[in-house]
């Protein structure tokens, strides 16, 4: 619901449908029946935020509690922000149209580091003080969760409390505690201290950091009874875990405009660059029956004609073929297509191909991640070239003529020869097409090769690694370009500048807060968008704050250094990460969880793949 003042702006901005709410299935409640109001903020545009599954789950979950009203807030695009500032209109929530500053909780989901400035900008647009210490009352509690909360330090001064791990239970516990604290007239400080006792809650103001002369961390000390280590929360039984039977169906087209069905959490693979592969351990699957009925309900309640099965690696779902059988039983009649993103090169079988082809043919994307076999062993991708080529042959036989291949450059130990192999692998895929007897007649093949720049992330075996410098990355990009000899390969690469800033934020510490604050003051926003991003402006800020960004991005850490996120526990032990890092240097792979338990530490949760019966076990 939008106010008259907002309506006046709507015809002056692009895509005004993003700012009005009023979608099918949005939740409207009567304020009289509500104790706690939660503004769920996604620090990016409506189209991006509305595509995010986590927000859909938590929105439905919160609103299933009678006394909570959860509303959605997105970052207005530049033109709308300008209009809002010019007309003194504060940021508002879509459902009620009420200002965000009126809410009890202002929650952010942090999906990528470059959205940090958007978070601060949204607080600023709401007229809420950005720093935690400037918000003294038991209201406007700023909370944050999501994968980037695994290293909360660069934004520690702004957020009152972080949710570590999966939010379905811990979020509600905190909201309930808030309700109780307010009834009892407790202060914000008392509330935060009580929160810190809940497993999975990190209250950064309750910790003190000391630094060494070389700027590394000397000590990290809890105060007021806060725990020394914060353990992540996770949903033990995915079959019983809350899942919405309903999505808000947007009026305007969004990035992923379809129903999304989660099939499992975690990933068995342990690719060494992949943060998600470690922080969501262990793998916990939903049963085909549960997935089938949840899928059906979602499609019926939203009207979507496409449902995407979501996970970190769909073909690793242990019962993928029986599941697809079940789904295609009804999806064909209802003219619903099933899409399977995140397919592994070695998981694309004839069987799966025929099932996802039944209604609609979607594009094919594979991620070999590295060009040479040695590099793929270093990152533990466990995919061989012949597997990729035979998969492509299967696809070409099945009528596909375009394949997208994703790679990374700047991986640890990588040489220019390794990089040239990216182009060679693309060429091999092109050659495979022309050797395919059943390829589509009279059509040419198109192979898209995309190379992003590697960003070392916390909680991965590469968390100690330096990122390649920007000139090194440019050299590698150029080397791939020069190595491609055919027009059938289209080469895309990511801007190295943004990857550099991402690397600074990803492994930053609390001293970055100063830079964030200054960036917010100067009106930085949408760093993840080319329209707004400027590395030069960021370098000026770092300079002004006396921060050397290379200290965070390009420095090799020693295994015994205290890392800014060491007080947070995602289940995988540091020893295991060190072992994996050393194996990478020796080009040695690690078998995945279903082949062998490698004792990473995640078995302590007592659930999931760690307790599955392995095929090779007697």
């Amino acid at each position: 619901m939008v106010s008259k003042e907002v309506e006046r702006l709507l015809l002056k901005v692009q895509k005004p449908g993003r700012y009005v709410g009023g979608e099918l299935n949005e939740v409207i409640k009567d304020k009289k029946d509500i104790d706690v109001r939660f503004a769920f903020c996604f620090p990016d545009t409506y189209e991006v935020g509305m595509s995010h599954l986590g927000m859909k789950i938590l929105y439905s979950l919160f609103n299933s509690v009678p006394y909570i009203w959860c509303e959605r807030v997105f970052a207005p695009w530049i033109d709308m922000e300008e209009q809002m500032r010019e007309h003194n209109i504060p940021l508002y929530a879509l459902e009620s149209g009420d200002a965000v500053s009126e809410f009890d909780f202002i929650g952010f989901t942090l999906q990528y580091e470059l959205s940090f400035t958007n978070m601060l900008n949204m607080l600023k647009l709401s007229n809420v003080p950005i720093k935690s210490c400037d918000r003294n009352d038991l209201k406007q509690i700023v909370v944050a969760g999501g994968p980037c909360a695994c290293n909360p330090e660069p934004i520690a001064e702004f957020v009152d409390l972080f949710f570590i791990g999966e939010g379905e239970e811990v979020d509600l516990e905190v909201i309930e505690l808030f309700r109780k604290c307010r009834q009892e007239g407790k202060s914000k400080q008392e509330f935060l201290q009580l929160c810190s006792q809940i497993e999975g809650v990190y209250v950064p103001s309750l910790y003190e950091v000391e630094y060494n002369d070389d700027d590394t961390i000397k000590s990290f000390t809890p105060k007021c009874g806060a725990p020394a280590v914060i353990h992540k929360r996770l949903m033990k039984d995915m079959n019983k875990s809350f899942y919405p039977d309903n999505f808000v169906v947007p009026l305007v087209e969004i990035v992923h405009d379809r129903a999304v069905q989660e099939i499992f959490r975690g990933c068995i693979r342990g690719c060494r660059f992949c943060q998600a592969g470690f922080i969501y351990r262990p793998v916990r699957e939903k049963s085909p029956e549960v997935i089938n009925s949840q899928c059906k309900a979602l499609c019926e309640n939203t009207g979507y004609d496409e449902v995407s099965l979501s996970s970190l690696s769909s073909s690793d779902y242990s019962q993928i073929v029986p599941l697809l059988d079940k789904l295609t039983e009804w999806s064909k009649d209802e003219k619903i297509s099933i899409s399977l993103p995140s397919l592994r090169v070695d998981g694309f079988t004839d069987d799966i191909m025929n099932k996802i082809k039944t209604v609609r043919k979607s594009g094919l994307t594979f991620a070999p991640e590295a060009g040479s076999q040695r590099m793929r062993d270093v990152i533990n991708k466990n995919v061989r070239e012949d597997e990729l080529l035979s998969t492509c042959a299967t696809a070409f036989d099945g009528g596909w003529t375009t394949v997208k291949l994703y790679f990374m450059i700047g991986l640890p130990t990588e040489t220019l020869d390794d990089v040239a192999d990216i182009a060679n692998l693309g060429q091999a895929v092109v050659d495979t097409y022309y050797q395919c007897p059943n390829k589509p007649k009279g059509k040419s093949v198109r192979v898209t090769v995309s190379a992003s720049s590697f960003v070392p992330k916390p909680f991965t075996p590469f968390q100690w690694e330096p990122q390649d410098t920007i000139p090194q990355l440019h050299e590698k990009q150029q080397h791939i370009k020069d190595s491609i000899k055919t027009k059938k390969i289209q080469f895309n690469y990511h801007d190295a500048d943004t990857s550099f800033l991402e690397a600074v934020f990803a492994r930053g510490d609390r001293r970055l807060c100063k830079a964030m604050e200054l960036a917010c003051e100067k009106g930085f926003h949408f760093d993840g968008w080319n329209d707004c991003f400027s590395l030069d402006k960021w370098l000026e800020i770092f300079d002004e704050c006396d921060i050397d960004p290379a200290f965070y991005a390009n420095r090799r850490r020693s295994f015994d250094e205290i890392l800014p996120w060491d007080h947070i526990d995602y289940g995988v032990t540091k020893d295991y990460l060190i072992k994996e890092c050393q194996k990478a240097y020796q080009n040695t792979t690690t078998p995945h969880c279903r082949l062998k338990c490698n004792n990473c530490g995640a078995a302590k949760y007592g659930e999931g793949v760690c307790f599955e019966k392995r095929k090779n076990m007697v």
């Binding site: 709507l10 005004p16 449908g17 009023g22 979608e23 169906v249 009207g303 979507y304 003219k335």
Partner: protein, 219 residues
């Protein structure tokens, strides 16, 4: 197979969605409601729906229509109305279903109610300005076309109009050429108005009815 013309209102939040987005909303609602509409038989089968005259983003529409083909007669028109309304956002409301009488190509005119004004200006002043503009013999405006900028006379596209003072705004009721041949978008009138008087009032445009070349109501 039976043709059906579905009549609906587009208002509130849904004023602010484009024709393309409206199309998507309608297709999803048709799909969700399980009304047996004919689907296209191409590569990506989807419900077949056409809109006799799309509505610009920002306009309210009180008599909008969409044509579909029904695969069987088992669904009554009443069932279609309630079925679709259950599946549509609140800004889109279906109120009637009829068998089409005229083809979409017959549309020649559309009538609009345009409210213009703001708190700072009296509605009388705005009315006088409107009258001045519309009394001109030629109203030239620059219009972007595929071949670049083009100057056109929109006065020829005005069939009739009436200016009236409402309690807080000026109201222009106007019938304009519409359809695939000589469509005049009321935004062109507003932009001519703004340019002439150097103003930027709040504007609220509603499309009421569509007509054929004989000014018979489009049905």
């Amino acid at each position: 197979m039976k043709n059906a013309r579905i009549w609906f209102k587009k208002d509130y939040e849904c004023r602010y969605i484009s024709h393309l987005d409206l199309n998507r909303c309608m297709l999803r609602a048709l799909h969700k409601s399980k009304i047996p509409v004919w689907h296209t038989e191409g590569f990506n089968p989807h419900p077949f729906a056409t809109f006799p005259l799309p509505l610009s983003l920002g306009f309210r529409g009180v008599n909008e229509c969409m044509d579909v083909k029904l695969e069987d007669d088992s669904f009554s028109f009443e069932q279609i109305i309630s079925g679709l309304n259950d599946c549509l956002p609140r800004g889109l409301r279906v109120f009637d279903v009829t068998e089409p009488v005229m083809k979409a190509g017959k549309i020649a005119y559309a009538d609009f109610t345009i409210k213009i004004g703001d708190e700072k200006t009296s509605s009388h002043t705005v009315c006088e300005q409107l009258k001045k503009l519309l009394a001109l013999d030629i109203i030239l405006i620059e219009k972007k076309s595929k071949k670049g900028m083009k100057t056109i006379d929109i006065k020829q596209g005005i069939k009739s109009y009436a200016v009236s003072e409402q309690f807080d705004t000026a109201q222009l009721d106007i019938i304009l050429s519409a359809g695939s041949a000589d469509n005049v978008n009321p935004n062109l009138i507003i932009s001519a108005f703004n340019t002439r008087f150097g103003v930027d009032y709040d504007v609220d445009i509603t499309r009421n009815d569509l007509y054929d070349s004989e000014m018979q109501l489009f049905r």
